[in-house]
């Protein structure tokens, strides 16, 4: 059962005409989470919302590297000395991260140092680091992965229309707005209040954005070069897959021009948009 910590706020609100449920949770994976879904009576929507909260809470507890008891923290503490068996979920995540590392010509790197020092043993699903100063950071992956799990719950529970907003930067629109043919999402320029720089129309699609803002810059680091990405730009990635969108927005923000070309070629079905601010 989901157990919020004392400083979390969350609620579920119901609206009629159209029938709509709005679930909100703050301080999950370092940000806030909003879910709008439609056409469910309150008892059913409460049950769906509970499943969503439990899954978010489970993933948060597993992937948060700032929590010393999380599974990722335990791996970070032990895997440089011994092989550490991991849960099925974390195993799937690490395998997927390896695939994305290859497809992004090494730009997407959860080790931020040297992905080759991360060894995955398929026999017993264990992890071993050959570099003692090495930690896993799933910051550019976790929200997209969590969105994919939430989407799986919604579809399994018969939700056909929904809008999910994970911290403003990872969004999924299931089907379309009740009064429109898509979920229209606009991108604001963080350096110029009120200026809209791009608009997306999502239909069964994910949008992930990555970029610097006046308040929050230099948080993206090129894994190989170790350089902070300080330029005033934003990258938006639209894809049918929430994880892919999340991984690629961070990667494209950090990638050098030649790497960007290769990444774009590897993902021909994905829409990339780089915006100079």
């Amino acid at each position: 059962m989901f157990q919020p910590s004392h400083n979390e706020t969350f609620y579920l609100r119901h609206y009629e005409s159209p029938r709509m449920s709005h679930g909100f949770m703050d301080r999950i994976m370092g940000t806030r989470f909003d879910l709008l879904f439609f056409d469910k009576i309150p008892a059913v929507s409460a049950s769906i919302w509970r499943m969503v909260l439990e899954e978010l809470s489970r993933l948060h507890g597993m992937l948060n590297r700032f929590d010393p008891m999380s599974e990722v923290s335990l791996v970070n503490q032990k895997a440089c000395r011994e092989s550490v068996k991991v849960s099925n979920t974390l195993w799937d995540i690490l395998v997927a991260c390896g695939d994305y590392h290859r497809k992004t010509v090494g730009v997407f790197d959860i080790t931020k140092r040297d992905f080759s020092a991360l060894h995955l043993s398929w026999e017993d699903r264990s992890v071993f680091f050959t570099d003692p100063d090495f930690t896993l950071d799933l910051g550019g992956f976790a929200k997209g992965f969590a969105l994919s799990r939430i989407l799986r719950i919604l579809l399994a529970e018969g939700v056909r229309t929904a809008f999910v907003d994970f911290g403003n930067s990872a969004i999924y629109g299931l089907r379309h707005h009740p009064y429109g043919n898509s979920w229209k999402v606009s991108i604001s320029n963080p350096y110029r209040k009120g200026e809209i720089v791009e608009e997306f129309a999502l239909v069964d699609g994910a949008l992930s954005t990555s970029g610097n803002t006046p308040e929050y810059s230099e948080h993206i680091v090129h894994p190989r070069l170790g350089e902070k990405i300080t330029c005033r730009k934003m990258v938006c990635v639209e894809s049918g897959d929430t994880v892919e969108a999340e991984v690629l927005s961070t990667s494209m923000m950090a990638a050098a021009p030649d790497q960007r070309e290769k990444i774009i070629q590897s993902f021909p079905h994905v829409r990339f948009k780089e915006i100079k601010l």
Binding site: G30, D34, F163, G167, N168, I171, H177, T209, E215
Partner: protein, 417 residues
């Protein structure tokens, strides 16, 4: 930040007050700053060629700072200097060689040709010197804080109520343009109801002066010893607490606080770290903090209102609503759907993060150049109202007009220390 030097020392503030009176209505200005009602360009012209004859008691760094303020004034003349520490007396004498020199302030007070005295001495000397000067019939300008003990403050206040002499305590921010206009804005409702205050003064310095020989330690470093000082509270906090009272137009009714010597364990007796919470009768609180082993936060006094924040020390204010829209994308989307509207949701952009401090757009209390005190000087900041206040005192020595509420403001601030 720089400031434009005015042609005369105090004309800038005089004109500023006159202009402010025109803009806001004299009555409103009078309510905010009653002590300024006679500090106008017209009043300066009325002084004609009269001069206040001033004697300085205490000619250390702060005394010499006042000498520099007095020398350019057309309505003041320094006629006497007094100090028990010869090197300071000699330095001061070089600035005004025509002034007579004394080693005993009581002898100075006997002089018939002195209208007023400027006292810049250790805190424990304030009460005996102020009381002696008033007894001698002199007008008095004394450094803050008012006095070392509550009883001394009361004794001075009673003496002030019984005298026809003018008494000023150097709470100079009462004469600083950005404070005057900022507090006037608060009283006009710009930041809504005042709901709190946060003040701090941080330095990273031992607060010591070099001592030529050991027996002079307590005389020169008087700020560090309990017999002559209450430390950070009387030397720094006093100014900021005065501003809080001025802004709220109230006096705190209770206080919780603690102090310690955390870092400078060098034989000093006063705290190098203090934290206090003052509570006004309406529940509004001042959170006050000062320490001198970390200067990251600098010096600030923030008056918090439900519609904005006035940061008087930096001359800036910040509004809660207009610059910082509260409607998130999801709230707008809910509103759209409720109204059957299909439009774009400004949801995507930078990641939403927990409620860490946000950047607010600053607005400036005063247009154009103005000076900001970095809080680091042990002597006094440039353009912080000190020059104007001593000019007002000299004017009062001539006219006999006491600046209204000046003693009361100093009294209320000092007893909080």
């Amino acid at each position: 930040m720089s400031h434009k030097r005015k042609e005369t020392v105090d004309l800038g503030l005089r004109q500023f007050i006159k202009d402010l009176g025109y803009i806001s209505g004299g009555a409103a200005l009078l309510a905010t700053t009653p002590w300024l009602q006679s500090f106008t360009p017209d009043k300066a012209r009325e002084l004609k060629r009269e001069k206040a004859r001033i004697g300085l008691i205490g000619t250390g760094s702060r005394g010499q700072y006042h000498i520099h303020s007095l020398l350019p004034l057309e309505h003041a003349e320094i006629v006497a200097l007094c100090d028990i520490y010869p090197p300071n007396l000699e330095s001061a004498s070089r600035l005004c060689p025509q002034a007579r020199q004394y080693a005993d302030y009581r002898k100075l007070l006997e002089s018939k040709d002195i209208d007023g005295v400027v006292i810049s001495t250790p805190l424990d000397c304030h009460a005996p010197m102020v009381l002696a000067a008033l007894s001698a019939g002199k007008h008095v300008f004394c450094e803050k804080s008012m006095a070392l003990t509550l009883d001394e403050c009361k004794e001075i206040y009673d003496a002030y109520k019984d005298t026809d002499r003018v008494v000023y305590f150097c709470m100079q921010w009462m004469f600083d343009e950005k404070y005057i206009k900022g507090v006037h804005m608060i009283h006009s409702g710009l930041i809504g109801d005042v709901v709190g205050a946060r003040c701090h003064w941080f330095r990273n310095h031992d607060w010591r002066r070099p001592v030529p020989s050991a027996e002079l330690e307590r005389q020169i470093n008087w700020r560090l010893y309990r017999a002559s000082s209450a430390g950070l509270m009387t030397e720094l906090a006093c100014h900021q607490l005065e501003v809080c009272n001025w802004a709220t137009q109230r006096m705190p009714e209770s206080v919780l606080g603690m102090g310690d010597i955390v870092y400078w364990k060098d034989g000093r007796e006063v705290y190098d770290s203090v934290s206090l919470t003052y509570r006004y009768g309406n529940g509004v609180k001042i959170t006050y903090e000062s320490l001198i082993s970390n200067k990251y936060n600098g010096m600030e006094d923030q008056i918090l209102g439900n519609k904005g924040t006035m940061n008087l020390a930096t001359g800036m204010y910040f509004l809660e609503s207009q610059d910082n829209p509260v409607n998130s994308g999801i709230e707008q989307l809910l509103h759209q759907i409720g109204n059957k509207v299909f439009a774009a949701v400004p949801a995507a952009g930078s990641s939403w993060r927990p409620e860490t401090k946000k950047e607010y757009k600053p607005h400036y209390i005063i247009e154009g150049d103005y000076h900001v005190n970095d809080g680091l000087s042990m002597i006094g900041a440039v353009k912080d109202g000190s020059e104007e206040m001593i000019s007002a005192f000299c004017q009062a020595c001539i006219t006999g007009e006491q600046g209204e509420d000046i003693v009361e403001e100093a009294y209320c601030a000092t007893v909080l220390c």
